[in-house]
Amino acid sequence: MPTLEPGAKVRVRLDWPEARGPAHIRTPHYVRGREGTLVRSLGEFRNPEDLAFARPAPVLPLYHVLFSAKDLWPDTRPEHDVLVELYGSWLEAL
């Protein structure tokens, strides 16, 4: 998992673990597959996808990622932004 710096353009993985079986996912459906800008690093936290099943949970970097609402819902008017906390495991650098 690459370390990402503020200002980096990122894409959220387009993946649906909840469609494959029991899962607990903190990445909202509306950002998956979308591109945003990394705003800040928020530190490191244990992976909730494992904590939810009381499994050993590795530590992941957590980031604040900013999206333009038009990139999430093309019909958005007027434009606004959405800021989302996302784990590094869900992000790829562009």
Partner: protein, 105 residues
Amino acid sequence: MPSDSIPRPRAHHDLGGVERFLCERIDLSPHTLSDFDREVDALRQVLGQKGIMSVDELRRGIEAIPEEDYLRLGYYQRWLRSIVSTLLGKGIISEAELLAALEAA
């Protein structure tokens, strides 16, 4: 521009931007918490502090409630469902113990 032809098999608790609710008014009337609400809330905190059940497990249990029940049940009723399911699943309590206590009441 993103294509919205991508299938988005979201889970029912994953509500951000969901069309079905976009025209629904927000209920701004004051709702005070009942004793039941406060006590369920506190029980979850105690279970967390004692390492018996985490907030992540609580959320997973809430998300596992079928959509129809999820939308019908009150907020802390969902919590109670999740707490009981989680404790049963982890073997902290058994269904027989719970049913015996229900019958005894």
